[in-house]
C-alpha cells in the first residue's frame, strides 16, 4: 500500500483502572492531513485513549510512536511540547481568569521578562474573532456560557502557530467532543478551521456523538467497543447504520421509532406562569406559560439567553423583575430551594461545575437532590434508596452499573446520565433540561428523548434546551424562540413548523 507514514501510531495500548479495564490492547494510527474520528458508545474508552496519549494517565501497556520514534509522554505539558494539542472533554480552563489569559496561559509573550498584556489581548481578540466569536476577551471566562468556554478551549489549543509567526509545531490536534454544546454556526466555523489545519498537514483526532458531523468532516474512523478495537474504516466505506452496529455490537433496531411516537396533544392546565420575569444582563423581561404535560423547547443561537431563562425559572439567578406562579401560587424564587419546593428541577448543562460532586459515588450523586429536599434529619431508608438507585441505573443504562463507583471516574456520557437520574428521581412537576443529551451516544440519546416523551405523557412538564434544532422540534409542543437575550416568539409545534421556519424566526427576530 502506498499510504504515507502515520504521524502517530499507538499499538497494544492497555489501560487499567482499579476494577475496570478501560483499554485492552487498542491500536490506533493517525495520518498527517486527515481528520480521524474516534467512535464508540459512552464508556467505550475514547477519552481514556486520548488521556493516555496526552500523558494525563500513565499507560499500563503498549507503545506510542510519534513521527516514527517511540516516545514516552509523561504529562500533558510534554505532549504539548511533542506537538500534540488537546481539547479535553471537560473544559479545564481557569474560570476566574480572563478569556485572553486563558488562551495564553503558560505561553505568554514576554519582552525583557515582562508579560506583554497588550499584545495578549490583541492577539486573543483576533484569534477569537477568526472563529466567528464576538466576545470581550478581557471578561472572566466564567461570565460566558459553556459553549463559549468550549470555543475558548479550542482557540487555545489551535492557537499556537495558527496565529502568525512563532511556527506552531502542532502535528496532532485532539478534540474530545468539542461540539457537544455548540450550535450549528459555531460547528461550521470550527469545521472550517479544522479543514484549514488539515490542509496544512495537521492530523486531527475528533470525537463526537453527532454522526452527521462525523460524516461531514472526517476522512477515516476508528471504532472502539468496551475498550477494544473494533475496526478502522474509511468514512466513505461505512454508512451510519453500519457504524452504529459496529459501535453497539449488535444489529440496529429502529432508532427512528421516535418519529412515529406522537406527542400527547391534550396538554393540561397552566402549571408555571412567568410574568415580566427578567434580569439585567441575563434576559429581558418575558412572559411564559408552561402547561401540565407540555414540553416547551427553547431555540436560539449561542448566547441568546436560553440558559439564562431557565436559570431564572429555577431561582438559580435572582430575577430583578417579574414574578413566577406555580399552580396558582406565587413563588419567591430567591434561591433554588424555593423552586425545588414548588416542584421544579433543573438539570444544568454544565455537569462538571454545576452538576456532579465528583468525589461522591454514583449512588450519592443520584439521591442528592431528593435527600436535600427531605433535609438532613430524614435520610432515605437504605433499602428504598438502593432500590431507587438500581432502578435508575438500569433505566438509563449507566455504566459501570456500580452504585459505589466514584462519579468523577465515569465517562462523560455516563456522568450526564447520573445527573439526569438525580432529577428524575425527585419526580418534579416541571423538569428543566439544559442540554440533557450533551455527550450522550446515539443509542442513549434516543432513549432519553423517548423518556422525555413518556414523562410528558405522564403529566410532567418539561422545559427542553438543546443546541440541535431537530431535537427541540421533535420533542416540543411549543417552541420558544430567543434572540439577543429576548424571548421573541412562541410557536405552537405543527406540521408547518420546520427547522428553517425556526431559523427564519431567529434571524428576523419577529413574532409572526
Amino acid at each position: 500500500m502506498a499510504e504515507p507514514r502515520p504521524v502517530l501510531e499507538m499499538t497494544g495500548i492497555v489501560k487499567e483502572f482499579p476494577g475496570v479495564r478501560a483499554l485492552s490492547g487498542v491500536d490506533f494510527r493517525l495520518f498527517p492531513g486527515e481528520i480521524h474520528a474516534l467512535m464508540g458508545e459512552n464508556g467505550a474508552g475514547k477519552s481514556t485513549l486520548i488521556k493516555v496519549l496526552t500523558g494525563v494517565h500513565p499507560l499500563d501497556g503498549g507503545t506510542i510512536t510519534l513521527d516514527g520514534k517511540a516516545v514516552r509522554i509523561g504529562s500533558p505539558l510534554q505532549a504539548q511540547h511533542a506537538g500534540i494539542s488537546t481539547v479535553y472533554q471537560e473544559v479545564n480552563l481557569c474560570p476566574n481568569l480572563s478569556v485572553a489569559e486563558n488562551i495564553f496561559i503558560g505561553r505568554e509573550p514576554t519582552r525583557a521578562g515582562r508579560i506583554q498584556w497588550k499584545q495578549i489581548r490583541k492577539q486573543a481578540a483576533e484569534m477569537v474573532d477568526r472563529l466567528g466569536l464576538d466576545i470581550d476577551v478581557t471578561a472572566p471566562l466564567s461570565s460566558y456560557p459553556l459553549a463559549v468556554q468550549q470555543l475558548v478551549a479550542i482557540v487555545r489549543s489551535v492557537g499556537h502557530g495558527d496565529s502568525d509567526g512563532e511556527g506552531s509545531g502542532t502535528k496532532v490536534l485532539v478534540l474530545d467532543e468539542p461540539t457537544s454544546s455548540l450550535d450549528r454556526d459555531e460547528v461550521l466555523e470550527l469545521f472550517r478551521l479544522m479543514r484549514r489545519l488539515r490542509d496544512e498537514g495537521v492530523a486531527i483526532l475528533f470525537v463526537s456523538h453527532f454522526l452527521d458531523q462525523i460524516y461531514e468532516i472526517c476522512d477515516r474512523m476508528t471504532v472502539l467497543r468496551n475498550g477494544t478495537l473494533v475496526g478502522e474504516h474509511m468514512v466513505a466505506d461505512l454508512d451510519q447504520v453500519g457504524l452504529i452496529e459496529l459501535m453497539i455490537g449488535k444489529a440496529l433496531d429502529q432508532l427512528e421509532e421516535l418519529h412515529e411516537h406522537q406527542l400527547r396533544s391534550d396538554v393540561g392546565e397552566t402549571l408555571v406562569k412567568a410574568e415580566g420575569l427578567g434580569r439585567t444582563g441575563g434576559i429581558a423581561p418575558f412572559d411564559l406559560e408552561i402547561k401540565k404535560g407540555e414540553v416547551l423547547g427553547l431555540a436560539g443561537l449561542l448566547g441568546s439567553g436560553r440558559t439564562e431563562l431557565a436559570r431564572l425559572l429555577f431561582g438559580a439567578d435572582q430575577p430583578d423583575s417579574g414574578k413566577v406562579t406555580i399552580v396558582g401560587k406565587q413563588v419567591p424564587m430567591s434561591a433554588p430551594n424555593d423552586a425545588i419546593g414548588a416542584g421544579v428541577a433543573f438539570c444544568s448543562e454544565n455537569r462538571k461545575t454545576e452538576g456532579l460532586v465528583p468525589d461522591l459515588t454514583v449512588r450519592e450523586n443520584i439521591i442528592l437532590a431528593l435527600q436535600a429536599s427531605r433535609g438532613w434529619t430524614r435520610p432515605i431508608p437504605a433499602s428504598q434508596r438502593d432500590e431507587l438507585v438500581a432502578k435508575y441505573i438500569k433505566a438509563l443504562d449507566i455504566r459501570p452499573a456500580n452504585p459505589e463507583a466514584r462519579v468523577g471516574q465515569l465517562s462523560g456520557g455516563n456522568q450526564q446520565k447520573v445527573l439526569l437520574a438525580r432529577w428524575l428521581i425527585t419526580q418534579p412537576k416541571l423538569l428543566i433540561l439544559d442540554e440533557p443529551t450533551r455527550g450522550i451516544d446515539v443509542g442513549a440519546k434516543a432513549e432519553i428523548q423517548k423518556l422525555v416523551v413518556s414523562l410528558s405523557e405522564d403529566g410532567m412538564s418539561v422545559l427542553y434546551i438543546a443546541a440541535e434544532l431537530e431535537e427541540v422540534l421533535r420533542l416540543s409542543h411549543t417552541i420558544g424562540v430567543l434572540r439577543d437575550r429576548k424571548l421573541v416568539a412562541q410557536l405552537t409545534n405543527g406540521p408547518e413548523i420546520t427547522t428553517s421556519r425556526i431559523l427564519e424566526t431567529i434571524a428576523s427576530g419577529e413574532h409572526q
Binding site: 510512536t65 465528583p358 439521591i367 437532590a369
Partner: protein
Amino acid sequence: MSTPSATTPARWRALTHHHLFWPVAVLVALLLVNVPFTPDFFAIRMADGHLYGSLVSIVLFGSPLILVAVGMTLVIATGGIDLSVGAVVAITGALTCSYISDQADQNALAGVFLAMGIGLVAAVVCGLWNGFLVARMGIQPIIATLIIMVAGRGVAQLITDGQIITINSEPYKLIGGGYWLTLPFSIFVVAAVVAVTVALTRRTALGLLVESVGGNAEASRLVGIRSMRIKIMVYMFCALCAGIAGLMISSNTSAADGNNAGLWIELDAILAVVIGGTSLLGGRFSIGGTVIGALVIQTLTTTIYTIGVPTQTNLVFKAAVVIVVCLLQSPKFRAKVFGAKGRARVTAPAEPATPADAAPKMEVSR
C-alpha cells in the same frame, strides 16, 4: 497479558487501598519505634484499680486533640477551616474555672454543671460567630476564624484577669484527670463524642450533605442543599468539641491558663485531619481516620520523649515525621517510589516494535 496488580493477592490490594491503611500503618510503625527504648511499652499494669501503661497515657493525653480534630474534620469537609479552636479551648476553660472558683463549695455538683454549661455555651457562641462570618458574610474561613484565634486568647485573659486560676473541685477533676471503670474518664468522653459524631453524620444525611457542600458548592446550591445552615451548624459543632476539650484540659490541671491552654492545638488538629485522609479541599471525610491521625500525633509526641530527642530539636523531628507521613499518603509519591517496577515495564521498549512481538517481549522483560 497480565498486569502487576493482578499478580499480587487481591486481598492485600484491597487492604492497602482501604482509606485507613496508611494512617494505621504509620501509627503501628510509630508505636513499634518505642519498643527498643521502652521494652515494656505495650505493657499495661493495674494499680489502685486503675490501668496504667504507655498506651493508656497516649489515649489520655491525646483526648483533647481527638475531640478538637473530630470537630475540625467536619469543618474541613465543608471546604473550610477553623483556626479558632485553640482560643475556644482557652475561653471555655477560663469561664468554667473562674465560675467554679467563685463558688463557696467548689465540690457542689450543681455549681460544676452550671459552670460547664456556661463554658460550653460560650464555645458554641464562638462557633456561631465563625459560622455566621463564613456562611452568611462569605468571608474566607481562614480569615473569619483568625479573628477569634487572635482575640479569643485576649478574652480568656480578661476572664481570668491575666492570672492562672486554680481550682480545687473533685467532681470537675473527673473529666480530665479522673478514672472510671479502671480507665481514664476522658477516654469515655472521647468515645461518646466520637460515637455521637459518627451517628450524627452517618445515621442521618448530614455527612452526605457536608461532603456535597465541600465537594462542589455550586452544585450543592443548585440541588437545594441549605449549605448556609449546614456550615453554621458545623462550625458550632466544631466549637462545641473544642469547648469539651477545653473542659478536659483545665480539669486535668485543675487550672485555667488563658495563655497556654490549647496553644497550637488547631495546627495539630488540622494535621490529624489530614493524616486521617480528609482532604483540605473539602469533600469526603473520615472520622475514624481523624481519630487515628490524632493518635499518630500524640504517639509522636510521646515517642519524642521516650527516645530522648533533645528538646531544642524535637519540633524539627516532629516536622520530619509529619513530612514522611504526608508523603506516604500521597498516591503520586507512592507510585514513584513503590510502583517503579510496575511502570518500568511499560516504558521499556524503546525501539519501534511491531505490535505482534511487542506484547510478549514486555511479558518476558518483567
